[in-house]
């Protein structure tokens, strides 16, 4: 009969003897699935970069006679309403998702992290003012804000979409990096360095940065996944790049009206999109376990 204990305090606080009771597995192994995910993400990125050089059917080429066709030898993923090849549209579409997500995170990081690290080090009024500002930006629901801005700031292009999403990534990055930096900055070795007269920049680079890198890497991955999903949702609502330029989101949107006749248009971009996001999240999660970092809450 299962013992009805609420908690199983197996390891007392002290050490027993001189052995510390460690968990049997030291560092969580990365595992096969991890490398599969890395491979998948890598593949997507690679294909996105070299898309132009691949022997793909023109993603914009209309072919009304074979519209809504299922997968075939010629069209691996079938064709959409206008007879365009879905496979090539999915590959070309990945560029949008990847460009926007990496671009937005880049903006978020390049502005958010230095500010956050500096604030965590300096504290005082600078920190208070900046943090209040950032946290109030966070209170503004990001999704709603992006929808609003993108519906007015027309005509839309890749740059605008990336910029807007990137803008709202800044406070998220700021919050995570600041929390992580604060944890490090309050540690004695940093205070020791400060007492020794080291300049802020030096401390940031040598003491804080190496210690928060695992958290940042993990967050980047989860952030990219989130932005890919966000861009997909925006495209789905018609608020990102518009057709005929393909993107995963707007392809899924186009598939809405023809779900019963052409499920392929909904299926393939969705699967590719979901796998991409799941892989990114999985990699981020495994790395987090590997470096034994606390869970990052976005």
């Amino acid at each position: 009969m299962e013992n009805d204990t609420v908690n199983d305090q197996t390891t007392p606080i002290e050490h027993v003897g001189s052995t510390t009771l460690e968990k049997p597995e030291k560092k969580a192994p990365l595992g096969v699935l991890f490398w599969v995910s890395v491979g998948w993400v890598g593949l997507n990125i690679f294909l996105a970069i070299v898309a132009n050089f691949l022997p793909l059917i023109d993603p914009l080429a209309l072919n009304p006679n074979i519209s809504n066709a299922g997968p075939s030898l010629h069209h691996f993923f079938g064709t959409d309403e206008f007879g365009r090849d879905i496979l090539s549209r999915v590959i070309f579409g990945s560029r949008i998702s990847i460009a926007v997500s990496f671009g937005a995170l880049f903006i978020g990081f390049s502005i958010g992290s230095p500010l956050a690290m500096l604030a965590s080090l300096r504290r005082g009024r600078f920190d208070k003012a900046l943090t209040t500002f950032m946290y109030s930006l966070l209170a503004f629901p990001g999704i709603i804000a992006t929808i609003s801005i993108l519906s007015f700031w027309i005509p839309r292009n890749l740059f605008k979409v990336t910029l807007v999403i990137g803008l709202f990534t800044i406070p998220l990055v700021y919050r995570v990096v600041r929390t992580a930096s604060l944890a490090v900055a309050s540690k004695e070795f940093v205070i020791a360095a400060q007492i020794q007269g080291a300049k802020d920049g030096r401390i940031l680079f040598k003491e804080i940065l190496p210690n928060i890198t695992p958290i940042m890497v993990s967050f980047v991955l989860i952030g990219v996944a989130g932005v890919v999903a966000l861009e997909g949702a925006l495209a789905f609502l018609g608020l990102s790049i518009n057709p005929p330029t393909p993107s995963w989101g707007n392809m899924i949107n186009e598939s809405r009206t023809i779900l019963s006749t052409d499920p392929w248009l909904a299926l393939f971009p969705s699967i590719v999109l979901v796998l991409f996001i799941v892989s990114l999240n999985f990699i981020g999660d495994r790395l987090r376990n590997y470096f034994d970092v606390a869970e990052v809450k976005i």
């Binding site: 629901p141 929808i147 609003s148 005509p155 018609g238 598939s255 909904a266 999109l273 999240n281």
Partner: protein, 316 residues
């Protein structure tokens, strides 16, 4: 304690102020002269004059803001030139639907997440726990709109659930049964995304709390496991859950929008997207303001509830 509430109220007003400025400025993001875009085909010297008066477009920008916010605070969000109805009334008609969707979906999500997370935390690594944890990880990665599409694809088309649409929607007070059944599918879809998130957060926090010494102390007092779980473990763990729920309101709302868009349910989301496509910018602006303000206010209510549960927050 009172000081804490006052502090938060001041912050709330400050944020609402920022929100209003943001919403106000949206009009000016439009390329060229916003007047043309707003009026569209209705452009004429008469309508231009009306619009100018409504928004005070002749004035310098900061005065425009005050004109606009003055109207807003009196309940006047303008009149749409496309639908010829007051923005305010359009919003008021659509708002209850969003409210219902949020309420029902959150009830479903919490109702499922809390007991399941409690069970999973009590029996970590059990079959139930493993299935739920792995499943929720995957589901969490799947974007809401995809879940919705496939759910709709499966349910509506295969099972033939009655169509929803502006024509078929019935307000709750008119006919509760029809109202609830028509909103069940969309609420369920939103609930899934929320459930997955809440389950993960709660389970993780509960597991952490259960390792704490005060739980061992509670055990040593001879208290039943049920009481320990609910009275001693749940309270500290619920803080993170409430925090997540608060933040998630924005996401739940957005998920609601997508569902409405998909199923043509005439809530604010549907109205918003339709308005964007119809270039009804005044309506869009009004909706953005109302929704943003609502989310901010709901967040603050959540913060207050968290404070009631864990007063340590105020002592920082």
């Amino acid at each position: 304690m009172a000081r804490y509430i006052l502090q938060r109220l001041v912050t709330l007003i400050a944020i609402l102020f920022v929100v209003s400025i943001g919403s106000f400025y949206l009009i000016h993001l439009l390329p060229g002269d916003p007047v043309f875009l707003i009026l569209g085909f209705n452009y004429s010297p008469v309508t231009k004059a009306i619009l100018d008066a409504q928004l005070g477009l002749n004035q310098p920008i900061y005065l425009q803001y005050f004109t606009w916010i003055g109207h807003v605070l009196h309940g006047n969000l303008g009149t749409s030139f496309i639908s010829h109805q007051s923005v305010g009334s359009t919003i008021m008609r659509a708002l209850p639907i969003d409210g219902e969707l949020i309420i029902i979906s959150q009830i479903l999500a919490f109702g499922a997440a809390i007991p399941l997370a409690m069970k999973a935390a009590r029996n970590p690594d059990s079959v139930l726990d493993r299935i739920l944890s792995a499943g929720s990880f995957v589901l969490l990665s799947v974007p809401g709109f995809i879940v919705i599409i496939f759910l709709v694809l499966f349910v509506s088309i295969k099972l033939g659930v009655p169509n929803t649409g502006p024509a078929t929607y019935v307000p709750f007070l008119q006919n509760p049964l029809v109202n609830l059944t028509s909103l069940m599918l969309p609420s369920l879809t939103i609930a899934i995304g929320a459930f997955v998130l809440y389950f993960r957060v709660l389970r993780s926090d509960l597991t952490g709390v259960l390792q704490e010494e005060f739980i061992t102390m509670a055990r040593s007092k001879g208290i039943s496991t049920r009481r320990i779980m609910w009275r001693h473990a749940f309270r500290p763990a619920s803080v993170a859950l409430l925090g997540t729920a608060g933040v998630n309101i924005g996401g739940a709302l957005a998920a609601g929008f997508i569902v409405q868009f998909l199923l043509a349910i005439p809530g604010l989301g549907f109205t918003l997207v339709t308005a964007i496509n119809a270039n009804d910018y005044l309506l869009v602006q009004g909706i953005v303001l109302v929704i943003s303000a609502a989310v901010v206010i709901v967040n603050f209510i959540f913060d207050f509830i968290i404070f009631l549960v864990d007063p340590r927050i105020a002592r920082d």
